[in-house]
Symmetry: C2
Subunit: 425 residues, 2 copies
């Protein structure tokens, strides 16, 4: 499909470009042009979208989630992370089939689309189900390996690394990772370290989410999780830490030196009483931060607007500094940094040659008026209500409240409710 | 108009009633029936609304806002409260006309409607503009008096108390109040105290929003703002405190003894780096809490879903207690307590004889699925996107993204942008 979007304000997220009026051409899954109006073009279009009154920008990247946990939404709230994981999450997950995960992923994708999220860094069970979801829906997912002591071998990880990195369209791809230091043996971590070295690839992991996790690791190893994992060579080729809430001085230095990304998940960290990540400190040190929703079991929603407001709002309050983490910095985390964090540099900005992962923001809503500063409006007062269209890889998957997926909304809801009922009773 | 809403799940917010399926009858501005399905009714309806798949509940009450500050949205962010007030807000407000305020109020009302807010406790300049807005739009506003050293006399306040409490429909009403201890002379506060005593009426005020405010008051008076204002007799007939972030032990006792409401404004307190109010402590002491958005200049949006998540999420993190402030408690604050806080007991629940201020929540959206616990879904994953219909005083003012006001969306946006441009340049 060749699509032209015209009459529109454009925020490319390229440094220094600001917002300008113009048009964007999409050919196949790629942006063919993004710039001022072109008169007298001879191009033929399959679809033309009038963007009058709206803003076109790169989609948001959800840099840490567990999509299929939609079945646990509002099932187990108001509990501490470790109790929640051990008494509620793990027993329920043991009953999940690949078919469940396929439909629960689709439910999550619907919600991502409503929030302008065009790709996710998904850490969950059953990679074939993720691959099938992506193939059928047209969505873009990066699988984050989540091996741990409860399942998986280094050999399987190596096979998966090859298997899931063969999609020429990069709608499915794969990054090396593991669940967490506290669920993974030293032997396994050393194996992963070996793979990272063999292929010169980054490693991603849940890290320092709770105080208890850090204290337990210190008791066992004499080191913080960051220092201990670094001592095993896991970060020699970069990577990223999910959550990154409780850090000591040495940790900041390691993160900086290894060029790690930190993916902050502020809503989940509040709801599970895990704490508030030192995002301003990361930024002051030049450590790149991306944003994730975490899974819908802990958050409980998949809304990048909520996360963006929290990412700046919490820092302002905690640092007693209303200038902390300005709006444009937050937009960069959500739209650009997330792409790099999950290994999708071709999805960072709205520019020629990049993947056509874009969203149309409805500015003709009261929360966007008056139009004094659109970037600030997006971060401080934006909501799902403003997402008019979400395009992934050149395909419109959501527009004006309608979903353009291979299954109907009704079928996805019915299947997700069936799975939840069967598993949770 | 007589309206019947049928085929719908109903959450009346009456204690112990839970959610049931049934129908609701509206006659004029009042709820005539809310209960199980009635077969073979002979009633004639002007309009029947099929609520299949949705939830009907009382609207949210925004218990502290400054509606017409919409013109300052995204104009002055990232500043401390006192600098922000003195260098940005006050100089801009000096240029506002009644006509500006009328249109800026309408812009705010549009946004309230998208967020399911059916009444607001509005503290702002120019009461005639507020009255005119309410008359023309059909919305419900309670004016909170905001007298201070920069304008107003006790005699005018007394006149306004009578003038704005005459609407038989109670779409406009008036409560005694003043801006804040730090902007109001002792003489004026004593005058207000006298009026409160004369009419046995409550008093509302911004209170203990920032640390500096409390420290300055201690320096001047030797007391906290709560203790000082109480010593002047201001709370002898109850009332409420907006913000209530920085409290000492004695303050909690005074608030409890006087039966004061605390109206929490979590997003504004984060954004202005004012702090996090001790909401869990208030609840533990049995102090009733309501929720406000504060004005769009500090928040920057008017979204009760954001405030509800923050009201519980922040307490969980700050108190290191994921069980703090459960979802149903938050819903009660937003829908019920707010009504009492602003003197609208006839708007608290969805029951026969109450005002027909109701909202229809779209459960057929991915963030509400699966339907395991609807109350939790509302608080932890709800968004403006779920507001399908907002009814105030028996009139549908918003439905399926369309506004049913006396002016068009385009006109309101144009007028608001004109005002902002003229005043801010």
């Amino acid at each position: 499909m060749n699509i032209r979007i015209y009459n529109v304000r454009i925020l490319t997220m390229e440094a220094g470009k600001g917002i300008f009026r113009g048009e964007v051409w999409v050919k196949g899954d790629t942006i063919a042009y993004a710039g001022p109006v072109i008169l007298d073009s001879k191009e033929k279009w399959d679809q033309e979208i009038d963007g009058r009154g709206n803003l076109l920008m790169p989609g948001f990247k959800n840099a840490h989630t567990h999509s299929a946990m939609t079945f646990l939404r509002s099932h187990a709230d108001d509990m501490k992370l470790d109790e929640w994981l051990n008494t509620r999450v793990f027993p329920a997950e043991a009953k999940l089939t690949g078919e469940d995960i396929y439909w629960l992923n689709k439910l999550a994708i619907m919600e991502y689309l409503t929030s302008g999220i065009t790709s996710v860094f998904d850490m969950y069970l059953n990679k074939p189900a993720a691959e099938r979801t992506v193939k059928d829906t047209g969505y873009r997912m990066v699988i984050c390996e989540s091996i741990n002591d409860f399942g998986g071998t280094i050999q399987e990880v190596e096979e998966d690394y090859h298997r899931y990195n063969q999609d020429p369209d990069r709608r499915i791809s794969y990054q090396l990772g593991f669940h967490a230091e506290y669920t993974t043996s030293r032997e396994l971590m050393e194996g992963l370290s070996g793979l990272s070295e063999k292929y010169k690839i980054p490693v991603y992991v849940h890290c320092s989410e709770t105080k208890k996790e850090v204290e337990d690791c210190r008791t066992r190893t004499g080191m913080t999780p960051v220092a201990y994992m670094d001592s095993l060579g896991l970060f020699a080729h970069g990577g990223g830490l999910f959550h990154g809430v409780h850090m000591d001085e040495g940790d900041f230095d390691i993160i900086k030196k290894r060029g790690l990304y930190v993916v902050t998940n502020p809503a989940s960290n509040l709801k599970l009483a895990s704490g508030i990540a030192p995002v301003k400190r990361y930024l002051d040190m030049g450590i790149p931060v991306a944003i994730g929703t975490d899974g819908p079991a802990s958050n409980n929603c998949l809304d990048m607007f909520r996360e963006m407001f929290l990412t700046t709002g919490l820092q302002k309050a905690v640092c007693d500094d209303p200038e902390a983490v300005p709006a444009m910095e937050v937009l960069k985390m959500a739209a650009v940094n997330g792409a790099y964090a999950m290994g999708l540099p071709e999805c960072d900005t709205l520019a020629e040659g990049k993947k056509a992962d874009m969203i149309l923001i409805d500015l003709q809503q009261p929360n966007m008026q008056p139009l004094q500063n659109i970037e600030k409006n997006l971060v401080y007062s934006g909501s799902k209500q403003n997402v008019k269209m979400t395009m992934v890889g050149g395909r419109v998957l959501y527009q004006d409240g309608n979903y353009y997926l291979d299954s109907s909304k009704e079928e996805i809801f019915a299947r997700a409710n069936e799975s939840a009922r069967r598993i949770l009773g």
